[in-house]
């Protein structure tokens, strides 16, 4: 395979809840379902642990896309966590969009422990979307990009 050196490789942060999505990611691994190495997972107990600060922080530090995965609504290990997360992220993403940050850079996806295939498919698709968008310029912190 020829690798184009200038090919843009996005940095993607995926916040995954421990009980569903992280397990789903594990299942994707167990089933050897490939998705790009650009995706790095951060384990959180529940999607409701994801603070908007974390998402902005990721963009600041050089992420080009941030995705949050949690249990399907109704299936939260903690009963209600993902419902709160859903509201929070809906509003936050809407605000980022309102500020002119490309809305495709943020995403929420519900992935159960059994959905390894969905996890891989989601990540493939998200990486593709973000790759098309290119580097995050609108919510970047240049200080963090100096190498």
């Amino acid at each position: 395979m020829q690798v184009n050196e200038k090919e843009f490789k996005p940095t993607i942060v995926a916040f995954c809840c421990n009980w569903c999505s992280y397990a789903g990611a594990d299942l994707a691994g167990t089933n050897r379902l490939n998705y790009p190495a650009d995706v790095k997972i951060i384990r959180v107990p529940c999607s409701c642990r994801v603070n908007p600060m974390f998402i902005l922080r990721a963009f600041q530090r050089g992420a080009d896309g941030v995705i949050m995965c949690g249990c399907h609504p109704g299936d939260c290990h903690y009963t209600t966590g993902n419902y709160y997360a859903r509201r929070r992220m809906t509003l936050l993403f809407s605000m980022l969009d309102y500020l002119g940050i490309e809305r495709e850079r943020t995403r929420v996806e519900w992935v159960s422990a059994a959905e390894g295939a969905k996890f891989a498919a989601t990540m493939n698709e998200f990486v593709e979307t973000v790759t098309k968008l290119g580097e995050n310029k609108r919510l970047e912190d240049l200080r963090c990009k100096e190498k």
Binding site: R87, M95, L99, R103, L139
Partner: protein
């Protein structure tokens, strides 16, 4: 109204209902009015004013004042009462230590707004009907009140007092407000245009913290941005990211709690339309989760502290029209 207020304040001081009054104090010019605590009839006579420039919302002062000895009298305009309720709901003020007198409001302006209309060198102001007659060093100017009011008053959401112990004057009604017009206009723009708009606005931020410090929803004992241990402390808007970050997080922290009192935009020395951030959240909350007005009462749960199993998915942000 000013006379009535002074008279009532004196009565309440006299009969021991309260031991002090928080009100507006006259300054050197017609417009430079300072919030102040008055503890005697003499002080009230000497400095208490209530006029078209008394914009300051006193609710936040009550966080500290209501914890002091004795009961305090506060005059609240309709929009201030929403902040007052919100603070009561969040246990930030001790309601029992406050005596609220609701006072009517027809919109409040300030010196900076007049200056932006080209009126400078102001030495005096008279209200004549629907206009201000402004004496300046360079002659007399007349400006219609409707032209001299800031955006928050032009799109007033309510002239109704939602919390008070007594009212002076007639209570008003919740208004038909066009307050989301500008938000809608922005939403209709392309992503690039919105980005350019907000960069233009937020790049002026000098991080004086006036918006935060005046905000009745920002009453944290210690703000995360001031807390070196929070991991996101920021002292200055060192670059475009930090300008964005501060205002996004601040708006998020007050989302569902902001009553849209407009103090943030009033005090911004750089005239950044900060209310447009809060109004975006308010509008989204209304659209996604049903009409909600923070501070309308002291019971209803804030939209971010409750949910519905059928809530919209975050993907609505992508699906919604616009560009």
């Amino acid at each position: 109204m000013q006379g009535k207020m002074i008279a009532r304040a004196k009565e309440l001081l006299q009969n021991g209902t309260v031991n002090r009054v928080i009100g507006w104090k006259a300054g050197d010019f017609a417009y430079d009015i300072t919030p102040a605590v008055f503890s005697s009839a003499e002080e009230l006579d000497a400095g208490f004013v209530y006029n078209d420039f008394c914009g300051a919302n006193f609710s936040k002062y009550l966080v500290k004042e209501s914890r002091k000895e004795g009961k305090i009298l506060v005059f609240l305009k309709p929009c201030d009462t929403y902040s007052f309720n919100q603070l009561t709901k969040e246990h930030r003020i001790i309601r029992d230590n406050i005596y609220v007198v609701g006072v009517p409001c027809d919109g409040k302006t300030d010196g900076e707004t007049l200056k932006l209309k080209g009126i400078t060198g102001i030495t005096g102001i008279k209200t004549e009907g629907d206009s201000f007659v402004v004496d300046t060093l360079y002659g007399e100017k007349t400006i219609a009140k409707a032209d001299a009011l800031p955006e928050r008053c032009l799109s007033c959401k309510s002239k109704k007092h939602v919390a008070y112990d007594e009212l002076l004057g007639e209570d008003g009604e919740v208004c038909e407000s066009n307050r989301f017009d500008m938000v809608e206009k922005l939403e209709a723009m392309s992503s690039e245009e919105r980005f350019a708009f907000w960069r233009g606005e937020l790049s002026r931020c000098i991080r004086c913290n006036a918006c935060r410090n005046v905000c009745p929803a920002c009453t944290c004992e210690r703000c995360v941005f001031d807390n070196d241990n929070s991991g996101i402390a920021q002292k200055a808007a060192a670059d475009s990211f930090e300008e964005n970050m501060f205002h996004i997080i601040r708006a998020f922290h007050v989302a569902g709690r902001c009553t849209d009192c407009g103090e943030c935009s009033r005090v911004c020395p750089q005239n950044i339309p900060l209310h447009l951030l809060n109004r975006k959240f308010i509008k989204d909350i209304n659209e996604f989760y049903g009409e909600f007005q923070a501070g309308e009462d002291t019971e209803t749960r804030a939209p971010l502290n409750i949910f519905d199993t059928e809530d919209v998915e975050p993907s609505i942000v992508y699906e919604k029209g616009g560009n």
